[in-house]
Amino acid sequence: MKKKINPRAKKIVKNKNRMVPVVQVENLLKRAMHDLEKAREISDAGEGASLAGPSGELEAKIKERTLELSVLYEFSNAVAYTLDYHQLIKLVMESLFKIVEHDICVALLCNENIASVTIKPSYAESVKFTEEVKNAIIDSAAMLTGEDIRGKHLSSFLIPSSSAVQPKEDSEFDKIRSSFNVPFIVQAKTVGLINVSSCRESAFSEEDIKLISTIINQASTAIERMRAVITAEKSKMESMVEGMAEGVIMLDEDDEIVVINPRAEDILGFGPKEAATSGMLREKFHTLGLDKAFEECKTAKHLITKEINIANDGAAVVRCDITAVKNSAGEAIGIVAILRDITKEKEVDKMKSEFISTVSHELRTPLTTMREFISIIADEIPGKLSKEQRDYIEIIRGNIDRLSRLINDLLDISKIEAGKIELKRSFITLSNLIKDVVATLKPKAVAKHIELKTSFQAFLPRVYVDADRIVQVFTNLIENAIKFTPQNGKVIVKMINKENEIECSVSDTGAGIAPENLGKVFSRFQQFGRVAGGGAKGTGLGLAITRELVHMHKGRIRVESELGHGTTFIFTLPKDTIESLVKKLIHDRIEEAKKLNAKLSVLTLSIIDFNGVKRQLENQKLKFILLDIERVIRYALRRPTDTVLRDDGEIFVILEECNKDGVLIVKKKLEQAITDYLKREDLAEVIKLQINALTYPDEAQSEEELFVKARTSQRGGNDVRESIIN
């Protein structure tokens, strides 16, 4: 049965510059399948005709044609939305592999600066031709385009062959005998080349060449579309970025400068008249240390901020925020850097600091003189005083002190607002801190016959806070409670250990706060409900400052009160897991170490098979043993700057300004101390400890690394830094 090849099929192959309309291909496929079905029906129906002969040949041809069309169809679908050159080339090569028999395929795509070569061997054995075809295609491309391909930044990619595929038996894999090139042409310009090669003689038929060309044409159209999209996006971005007040620099995955706006060039010191070349810019990046920052950001989790000093005409301080652009696989495919000239801001900041310290000094000085003279008179050094004079002098003195407190509070709050307060955090046991504050304020309470007591659990976790500031918070709240409670009242300080936070409260049996005033309690200069004779007048700023301090520690504060039933102030301090505390602490110490150019060491002691130990010993007993071990360690450490943190069966010791040698000495000491303890308590068989030591920056460069490595118990056998105690 004669079958006409659909005349439309011919048309499609001829239109090399048009993308194959997907619908037409689909229809062709349907018809081809239909014809195939028909042919089968006929042969099935018998009539003696066999599958050999003309109908058999036809069927084979139809099958082949169907395959080719389906590959073309798949290809055009896949390539319709590709915006990635690598993906495109991969698709091209995969499609070619399915429909044209070849041994190795290589593609080259280039733009002004970069040439990228992709090689796909069809069989494992084909790999040996890689260099040959690579060089051949580069030379061909050079000839075809007239460009210096080798002078470009060249990158090569190898798509591995599928090991499941075996070469046909009759092929001799000794040398390439046939080779065919097809160019990628975009807007009349050759932008690349694809080559298929085979060891067979005359391996490629005209049909094959036509097929390859069809695919390449589609690919070229796709490249044209991709470039148009990229150019459109790029110019959109350029126009957005052109007028920005900040400098913007974008690099692509090959570290080529894709975008740099005039402001960035200006900031970097290249005036509007100078055209900064890529080379000049790179040098500038290097001089300013930006190239290192660009590298760093590729693997960083967050954006990196760097402040650099640029001396153009005058010194400028520039802030650079650098972040990597990542693809869905998390790989860096580009870098964006935003540059801001913050010289003015830095100056204003400096002025603010100076203002605050000048004002404080200027206000305190006359106050000091006044106070001392009043004090001298009060002590009757120049002469005796009448009762009246003494009383008046006391009033003056009281007011001078009030002024003094007001100045301190004002200074505090303006420092907090200017962001000039830095919390100096350390690990403290909250219960001890509170006990100290209570002891200091006890006399005031006693003077009013007020019962001042504390109520909290004995074992409370240590918190990482600014001790002085938390003392300030408790002092403010307890002093207020005492002030606002009449004689014979009660003030109770409570502390509750909740799951994620510690809740502290100060309650009194005072007059309470009216509901309409509750909202104003933390505002500035608000004072109400004062009990007569309650002691020195407050500044009205105490609670405002207290609230700021609590917030700075990421806690919350609130007040509960009922008129006539007393008042309770409740605030929380977040509790971190030991892990995040250790990391935070290590982070802070690393920052300090960086500033002082010092080293930091971390020791981790872990109880081997802690779960097993837990099973063996009774809960309560184990608890005490762990506390004992912690105590033994603290005792063995000399310096107050060394920190010990425990989380179940793991103990972290952080040693400031301690290098590798130092930490080994400490390690030995601790080993000895713990071994002695375990022997004394007869626990040597039950508890075995492992100690790891690590030093920054020698063995780890970040807190993450330090923390993770210090904990890893599987280290190399010949690692002398690891030891086991039992």
């Binding site: 000094h361 000091t368 003189t369 301190n408």
Partner: protein, 123 residues
């Protein structure tokens, strides 16, 4: 308790007040209104203690400390830093020079007297 105290502070009235206080407690008091004058006084008449203000024109308190601590004749004279600045951390650089006594303005006179007594006794 007795001894020679040298006051270096650029506020004449404050100096007058402290002088009255110290004299009433049996101390010999000399004073200077700036660092330069202070250093000269030390050369002429070595004091048992120096009460030193920080913010002063010409040579400031820190500079005075530095010079004193590097002068073999003067480095053993105890110094109390007398300061209106309550900024935490500013003490560090003085401690680095070996100066460990600080009193903040406005001060409590009893506190000041106790500290002077203690520091002179230590020698």
């Amino acid at each position: 308790m007795s001894g020679k105290v040298l006051l270096i502070d650029d506020e004449p009235e404050l100096v007058a007040a402290v002088e009255i206080r110290l004299k009433a407690n049996g101390y010999d008091v000399d004073f200077a209104y700036d660092g330069q004058a202070g250093l000269e006084k030390i050369k002429v008449n070595k004091p048992d203690l120096i009460l030193l203000d920080i913010v002063m024109p010409k040579i400031d308190g820190y500079e005075v400390c530095k010079r004193l601590k590097t002068d073999p004749e003067a480095k053993d004279i105890p110094i109390i830093i007398f300061s209106a600045s309550q900024r935490k951390g500013f003490e560090d650089r003085y401690r680095a020079l070996g100066v460990n006594n600080f009193i903040f303005k406005p001060f409590d006179s009893k506190e000041l007297l106790d500290m002077i007594k203690k520091v002179i006794a230590k020698g």
